[in-house]
């Protein structure tokens, strides 16, 4: 398991390093995460980072329940293993749901999107402040001047896909977001599936007959690794 995790860590490192290299390639126009991930369920305001912070909390929490499941496994306490492993599976599903929600808002974007000017600059609109245009360098334009810019714009980009996104004139930003968080999300999904399989095996008493709970420890390692990767994705995609 450790050998596999080292190779998987190299894969994730390469993806994040590629992200870093391209970010250094386009330092002026790369979207600021604080302007992109601003949504929170049921709150109609700008709350950047709070939701990803919550997702991080959920994943750390499910890591703790997994350690407790492994710990119970060492004591051969079947019921306790089932309880903690069950909570870990719940945590995994909550995280996957959160990620789906995050993707939805990233793809959908704001109501009016961004207006692309003839010189290639992106003027973003904001649902909370209608009629106000914001540029990447922090310039804010409003009123008649903003209306004139909208009228002269060559294109209106809403949300994000693989070829363009309203967050900036960098299609790579969307590509990296979909690929890295998607790749991580797929790891979480695989982890949940493997956890469910082990849960069934424990439930059926397979590990008791084997008199060995090492299987729980192995999936535990994988699950912590997924948490570890998220810690890095959280920092390099959302914080810096």
């Amino acid at each position: 398991m450790w050998i596999f995790l080292v190779s998987d860590a190299f894969t994730f490192s390469s993806l994040l390093i590629a992200y870093g290299a391209m970010r250094h390639r386009f330092p002026e126009i790369w979207p600021k995460p604080g302007d992109v991930f601003t949504h929170f369920p049921f709150i109609h305001a700008h709350v950047p980072l709070m939701y990803v912070g919550l997702m991080t909390f959920i994943l750390i929490m499910s890591s703790v329940t997994m350690v407790l499941a492994v710990d119970a496994g060492h004591r051969m306490k079947r019921k306790s293993v089932l309880t903690w492993l069950g909570w870990t599976i719940v945590g995994g599903f909550v995280f996957l749901g959160s990620q789906a929600w995050e993707w939805y808002h990233f793809i959908k974007g704001s109501e009016k999107g961004a207006y692309v000017l003839a010189d290639g600059r992106y003027a973003r609109t904001d649902d909370l402040e209608p009629g106000v245009l914001k540029f990447h360098d922090g310039t804010v334009v409003e009123g008649a001047e903003a209306q004139a810019l909208i009228a002269s714009s060559v294109k209106n980009v809403k949300g994000a896909n693989l070829t363009e996104n309203e967050y900036g004139n960098v299609p790579l930003f969307g590509n990296f977001f979909f690929f890295i968080t998607g790749f991580h999300g797929f790891h979480v999904f695989s982890g949940v599936v493997i956890n469910i399989i082990v849960f069934i095996l424990v439930y059926q008493g397979f590990l008791d007959r084997k008199k060995d709970y090492e299987l729980v420890e192995k999936v535990g390692l994988y699950w912590h690794f997924v948490d570890l990767v998220w810690v890095f994705v959280f920092t390099f995609f959302y914080l810096v």
């Binding site: 870093g20 330092p27 750390i60 890591s63 703790v64 407790l68 912590h224 810690v231 810096v240």
Partner: protein, 109 residues
């Protein structure tokens, strides 16, 4: 057969080092660091200092997850080296890729 018994016994000993109390302590450390990171991202601290703080704190979090949750801290030393040493290559890759990316940004067209 004999080997299995020995390795099992040593494993048991290794795991007894990680208590439930320590598990929760690591949890609070990880949660505290995450809240701190989100908190300081809203302050007016210069961006460069923020970035290096985030990188340092991320490595601290990684240390606790790998060391305690993945019980690397309780493994034998040669195993620790075997797993951790290859990551020198990652440090090198970070250096060359970010350097290359920055230089590409200066090339017109």
């Amino acid at each position: 057969m004999h080997h299995e018994v020995v390795s099992h016994a040593s494993e048991e000993k290794a795991h007894s080092a990680l208590t439930t109390k320590m598990i929760w302590k690591v949890f609070w450390i990880l949660l505290g660091i995450t809240l701190f990171e989100v908190g300081i991202s809203f302050t007016g601290i210069p961006h460069t200092i923020l970035i290096w703080t985030f990188v340092a704190l991320t490595l601290v979090k990684a240390y606790y997850i790998v060391g305690y949750f993945m019980h690397m801290k309780f493994e034998v030393v040669p195993f620790q080296w075997a797993i951790l040493l290859p990551f020198i290559l990652i440090v090198y890759l970070i250096f060359i890729a970010l350097y290359e990316g920055t230089v590409l940004g200066y090339i017109p067209g």
